[in-house]
Symmetry: D2
Subunit: 409 residues, 4 copies
């Protein structure tokens, strides 16, 4: 790729690459073994000891809070374009992001509080998050409605004196499985009868508030993703002080718009990293396996799939870097077509590449012995997370239709 990374990115990439070689790849087996042992012992929902160890090392090596877009107390201040290639690398190992305090949904939540929070909110929640002491969740999707249309969200946030009283049922609250997850950002309606885009607000809800119940983990194609998890959470007459609102009543949509862009770059670059890893595994396996008298790597059917994978991956990466650059230069709003485009392109691409890699591995590819089955489930999930393909394609089409309507006027 000729889109040369900046000097800063090259440096970070080199150092993080070295960290992966020393600390991440060699510990992949240990990570799974640790989790399996805890599961066997009856409780998989505990923070990873391995990750805790590595966080210390990563922080000491200056690989910490890399994602932070605006400077905060001396840290952060990286552009989307510069950060993107680091996400690609972290996409190769699903648990690696937390080691660098760069894992979703904490990155988005930290960014949200940094951008829209009051000084008091920042001190209370942003600082321990940046410190890696606590974790957070974002409670948006609801089981009862098509949440792809955010105006459908039903959770009630009713003002009662100096408090908000919250009632609702959320699910797929990722990260809420971790016992360290201490703070939820909850989206709900403060003004259910208001104008369509001014009904929603976001409120900070400490997990230990009475009325909050983390009901159960949802699985993703059979994976519970412990200890992170995707939880169903019940909110029953949960009371939080009015100071816990973010930005103000009716501004939930505005925050949602602001936070979405970077998160999508991250998702997409991680998908690209996953696809690169799958392609490597596919190529290696094909060279190693013999069938019908020759290595599978000599079959032209695999040449087609390798070539198509390379073409799809490189295109998705260029498109995503282009979107990141556009966000950096003209802002999230004017880059909304580009952001919608990558959200469709990247996970569909990675699903396809992982699918081929599985096929190249035969039964091994669907088992726990290779990372591919897990990647297949995760990448398929990305096509739904943060809005299903259909919603993004619709947005892209609307912009195209608008452009031509304007041109012909």
């Amino acid at each position: 790729m000729s889109w040369e990374p900046s000097a800063r990115t090259r440096d970070l990439l080199a150092r993080m690459g070295s960290f992966f070689d020393r600390h991440i790849y060699p510990n992949e087996h240990r990570w799974h073994a640790e989790l399996a042992a805890r599961r066997q012992a009856g409780n998989a929902w505990q923070p990873s000891a391995l990750v805790d160890e590595l966080k210390v090392v990563a922080r000491a090596e200056g690989l910490w809070n890399l994602f932070l877009p605006h400077p905060y107390k001396g840290e952060g201040g990286i552009s989307n374009l510069d950060y993107a290639p680091l996400c690609e690398l972290m996409g190769r190992v699903v648990w690696s992001g937390e080691v660098f305090n760069c894992s979703a949904p904490d990155t988005g939540n930290m960014e949200t509080i940094e951008r829209y929070g009051t000084p008091a909110q920042k001190q209370r929640w942003l600082e321990p998050l940046l410190d890696g002491k606590i974790r957070s969740a974002f409670l948006m999707t609801e089981p009862a409605v098509a949440s792809s249309d955010a105006t459908n969200i039903q959770c009630s946030i009713r003002r009662d004196g100096d408090h908000y009283v919250i009632n609702g049922r959320k699910w797929f609250s990722s990260g809420a499985g971790n016992p360290r997850c201490a703070i939820f950002i909850v989206m709900g309606k403060t003004d259910p009868d208001g104008p369509r885009h001014a009904q929603q607000s976001m409120v900070l809800v400490p997990r230990d508030t009475p009325g909050v119940t983390v009901l159960r983990p949802l699985t993703v194609f059979g994976y519970d993703d412990a200890p992170h998890g995707h939880m169903e959470v019940l909110l029953e007459d949960v009371r939080v002080p009015v100071e816990n609102i973010l930005l103000g009543e009716g501004r939930g949509f505005e925050i949602a718009q602001g936070r979405l862009g970077p998160g999508r770059i991250h998702h997409c670059m991680r998908s690209i990293g996953a696809a690169e890893r799958a392609l490597e595994m596919m190529v290696d396996r094909l060279q190693d396996r013999i069938a019908f008298g020759k290595p599978l790597a000599e079959q032209s059917i695999w040449h087609e799939r390798i070539a198509e994978s390379r073409c799809m991956i490189d295109q998705a990466r260029l498109l995503t870097l282009n979107a990141a650059h556009k966000m950096d230069t003209v802002g999230n709003k004017d880059a909304r077509a580009e952001i919608a485009m990558i959200k469709v392109v990247a996970p569909n691409m990675s699903c396809k590449v992982v699918d081929w890699a599985i096929q190249a591995h035969g039964a091994a590819g669907i088992s726990q012995d290779f990372w591919l089955a897990e990647a297949y489930a995760h990448q398929r999930t990305v096509r739904i997370v943060d809005g299903p393909d259909e919603v993004h394609r619709n947005a892209i089409a609307k912009i195209e239709l608008g452009k031509r309507a304007a041109a012909r006027r």
Copy 2:
């Protein structure tokens, strides 16, 4: 579909359909709950109490051993074409087959022993299998080689006096997780230096033979499919009497060819049943969910997917019934193109339909709350089981190339 089922099939379908309405669908939740409770209690690998109950009912209603192609002691004698629609129905609920003693791999194993076994082998193993007292596994695939090319199979079956001594490592031995699984059919090499298709033999190995170790379950995209399971099995100096060979030394390929046809009809019809169920769920969900002001069912993008699903399902069914009919009339060997075709078409179709159904469900579709996530994993697996797509496409192409070469001579 105008290809009218026979009177016998219509009767069986009606009765089995009624059984599903009374005993299967209403118990789906219980089945999962029972398994979850056992897993919670520390051992998921126990026979299902629900299935045990229902087996008694099914047998009493004459819905037992329906699959059996040749009559044996008064039971069985159904054509592939007549049995196929019943498989479609059983494909809707993955655990339902065992209720009717019609579940893989037992069906294939029973058929194999019935067709190729000695009277003593039949009495010892076929009868308790037909009686539903024990279960069986088929040990073919090996982790160390590309098993899609069956000549790669390395397991050694060495004659030593009146015994065979077996050494090898097998995996994805489906059904071996069930504690009632008492008998393995093992494929391996009795003559590693013989002609390519005469090296392999099949031997009956009781699971409790010394040297047999069921090592661990393999997962399929995160599912361990307990209590059935897909196990890794180690065979170390396992000794069985020479009488345990099936058909004779060097005839493993011959048996494999003979057993494969019906199994593929079953797999494919189950995939078609799964796709039908997914389409129903998709259509229902689309009618129930509102986004951006109207039911999803009014979006033409979903019309396209519903229509394509219907077209693909109906084509796959006609193709599979056609293959079944050809097997019934000209035999497995002359129907090998048709059998290879359905093995490619049906699971690729069902993967696609299930994928769309998931997308219609949003996050719900990938969770444990709907059957779709499980179906997605299982249907993807069928593209590898019994030979990956690539091997079957290759076989089809060879036949086409041969036909034209002959026509031009």
Copy 3:
């Protein structure tokens, strides 16, 4: 295919196959040369002398008017299922249908007059058509509106005393390029303010009526398909006696529905015939051409395409025969889902197979030296003719949605 053709079809197929071997394939070059010579001489729009010769032979051999569904004066009376395989054969050579007086749109027009015409209309137009003396066109599609929604049709048919006065502009009036084309069936509005499906009527308009102007041929991807042609026709104050109406005012939709089914079976079976021929050519070429040291036929990428072609063709044929059988047994109306399905499936399939065959031929495949380029254009056209894919998919989806809505009530 195990769906055995009837004895009648087997006999007709055998005799028509022999006719192709003796008279059609050997004359393909002559047909093109004759047309090229006429084009060179300045007028391609003349009936083919070759076809005229062969019509005499075909009639003498009893291969004449085979399509006719209901008996008329001793001829005809064939089911859709029995006629379909003959269409497949005729689909291999685009001009062959006329040799047997079985070419579109004359078949549909003859069927329409036979079914809905008065005795006088039959005598005047059906008989010379059945005799092969004249040809006909069907004037439906209009350039000014989306004709896929037939209620959009704007052509005005105004009653004026004992006459209808017709004004409109039609295009893609296939067959109107032939100077022998003597009669048009024109669809237009007799009651523009009536109920949506009662506005349209069909009227017989002799081509030589004053006010009729055949303006120009439309091309189809560069082909003008002379001498048949797809013409733009202007109708200016064209007066025909009221006796020329078919069935009655406001019954245009009813006739359109009745005529569409068989025509779609014919289109689809011809597409299947074209795909079979393309697959044969692909396979032959791959066996003949050497690149990078071995025949292309040994490349597994081509095995995949050959196999997929065979799977797609066989599925499309089974689906089409199934639709034909359903039309024969429950009628066009109850078979409308099946008819819509084949109209989507068959031409999309043939486009794909022809595309691969072209790729196998390299530059030769897009030239006039092989039949493939022409087939590529024609098969792509079928996806639009008689309603674009989108309209048919919509119809299929509506039926599925209705089925489930009914089931859940």
Copy 4:
């Protein structure tokens, strides 16, 4: 796209865009009418009077020979990256390139002579070509062999004293239909028994040399592309002086490699321009046409296709610009993976977008009234020209396999 064009490109794009608005788009109808009139009059193979007129204007406006990579007598010297966006613009109207003396195959031929020719060869052929006085053709592909493997080329170039004697049959010699086409670059074997990549040479053959016969035009899906044409050329004992060789005997491959890169950038950018135009036409048509009560543009099925088109086009453009940049910075050889990738991606993308645009237009889309049918034929052709997809995918895969093999050593 954030990949900002350089100041030079922006200036050229602005001026060429203005030229299109003033002289190209308004004359599209005239171009076709002129050709139709000549065809009607019996000879379509004459230079376009319109193009001759516009060439004068373009040259006067400094829009001439823009493609020239290396400076020659004061003209040229543009990078691939800077030239690429101009190709995209010219891709919108197939005949526009010649207006700017930037049309294939003349650009490649001029570049070849400029790069590898002797001063005498340049004076004799390059200068009149740069002057737009004559045109040229490149005679490579042969009907008798799979020319995708260039070592298959059979044309004989035998030294006989001070001359080469050339015998062979070439086809798809584009541009040779133009009566001004005065010079052919012929690829053939000077050393048929030499090492595989040293057998071929390139020789300059004036069209009027005795023994040269331009036999006939090949059509491309029914289009003869007059007056440019794709001709079959017979070379019988054609004698040219030895000075006519390019670079030296046995260096044909070397030249072919050198010339291919830029040509592929041009092809791909033109395909991207064609796709952009098709998308515009699709969007416009969808907004203009009403069916079933609303504009087609409100159907979500079209949202999906518009969005997918935009995603595919932007990705293909970024990939192609990336390849151009890589060629500019590391050279054609090290950019060979990137060049192969765009050659697969761009035309497959444009075929898909044009196909959707046609479907949006209904019957109009396949007729001569819209540019789409022509574009469909041309874009399909690009998948074969300069090597079929299969050859490029193979090359990409080989590079990937090599990278991993090296990484694992």
